[in-house]
Amino acid sequence: MSASPGTERDRKRVVEPGVTARSVTAHVSDLVLERRTPLWWWVGFGLSFGLFGLFLVAVGWLFIRGVGIWGIDWPIAWGFAIANYVWWVGMASGGTLISALFFLTRSDWRSATSRIAETMTVFCVACAGIMPVIHLGRWWYFYWLFPYPNTMALWPQFRSPLHWDFVAILVYVAGSLLFWYVGLLPDLATLRDRARRRWQRVLYGLLALGWQGSSQHWCQFRMLYGLFAALMAPLVCSIHSIVGLDFAGGLTPGWHETQFPPYFVFGAALSGFAVVLMLVIPLRRALELTGVITLRHIDVLARLMLTASLLLSYCYLIEVFMPFYRGEQREITVVTSLLTGYYAPWYWAKIVLNGVLPQILWVRVLRLNRPLLFLVALGVVVGMWIERYVIVVGSLHRNHSESSWFVFVPTVWDWATLAGSVGLFLTGFFLALRFIPMVSMFELRELLHKKKAEGGR
């Protein structure tokens, strides 16, 4: 399965010639069922698991001592935990957008990448979900946010943006899990039927719930998947709008921005596509999927990243422009301090990584240069974390009350939590690599059939 940029037609190809339904099914399921666990997996998993251990230590110490181990202070009472949260939930959006939004647009390039993207989403959401809980001063009371009947006759405060966020993330976790699982059913059945070892047959048999692929099943399945896709697309936008409202809902200068909801959606999309790229580029080689994940996919994802980057850059401009347009003194103070103050290096780093660097993707050659593209995507992912960091800390350190102005200095525990959460994500993702088909086989079969039909015509 070679993949070299050739004629226009080649570039449009989402499947390399020679790939058949049978070969795809065989290859993808053998990755899970037959293939010996490769060395790179063990290494990768080992490292991730190490980081995950770091996460456990950091959180353990946090639970013993309290949030004081972090750099957060007065007036900057929010720090890494919130930035991490927004970062993770943002990247999660990538999977949902690709598999939901582009399902609705019936994009043919979606099929091969949706599984990787969705799996990524599931574990990103997991990381995101943990952050707000450990962020609490008294995390052991997080359940007070549930409206459950209690002897105190008390309720959560539904007006709080934080509560909207709590509900949103809850729904998003449920949503992305279901969406991912439903999409897996037919492939799990395939694994069940191909598996030779007993434990595999039982495992995948259970997971497949007895999927038969009967016309009745397919008919219900397509309806449900369509409905879910139609729901998830707006849902993911609402999630990030609400995350934006977490800040816009407060009157801190720099947060109190009407543009925040779309701003955050664009940001989420950008980081989402970037992280998908970062996974797809190495995986298509590692899993020998170059036949089905072609340069076409890379190209499309790169273009999407570029688009998102442009949208976000527009928001960046507005962010700087608005305060001066409104003439709000305090907002001007915030912006100027961002541009020139203590956090200026961070601010400009975010501009370069999220706004400037992706612009090289206008050039096709560069776009198709995978190592370079990978680096750009990495830059964006880092840049998006920095963006959140600047938003959270930068505004608070120039709040309404000058006498309280101070800076935030992260501690080793802040970094440990951040790095650890990455470990948590990778650990999960590596396990998924080992036990779950990384390409949606049934969709590819359908796709190949369609292509054949078109080819025939």
């Binding site: 016309s215 009745q216 609400i242």
Partner: protein
Amino acid sequence: MTVRRGTGHSLRGRLAAFDSPDAMLESLRRLRQAGFSRLEVYSPYAVEGVDELLGRKARALPLIVVAAGVLGAVGGFFLQYWGMVVSYPLNIGGRPLNSWPAFATSTFELAALTILLAGFLAFCKFCRLPRLYDPIFDAAGFEQASQDRFLIWIAEREGREDGELLQRLLPNGEGVRIDEVPA
């Protein structure tokens, strides 16, 4: 009349396996013309046209989902209204007790949640999942249905011997094989 129950039949029947979806569709059409009503198709992906031939439509699912959505929205808003206005009204930052704009987002999210759950449950119900055992799994070569073959199951009709009729309808060879399915 058509067979509603897609699976779980305890009827004797025959299973015709095809390599190509088109051949399967062709045969299916013939079978329908020949008056076979109790048919089911098993395929590695949804084949266009089958639903029309077998008259399948997932009418209920969208309705259920919409109903669930409405229910979730109304319930979700009521929950917030009840807590903030009726059960324990508090003056929160001078905001009105019924700050409905502030309740809107959660209302939407809760609607989405109910849709997701109801949708999934309804789907399981209609597909009769989970159903780990089904006689059809024991049918020879059925495992191919989830990979690259397209099966048609034909129920044995009471007091009729369709053997040679089927022989005619489903020309053996060129990627077609017919097996008896035991009850």
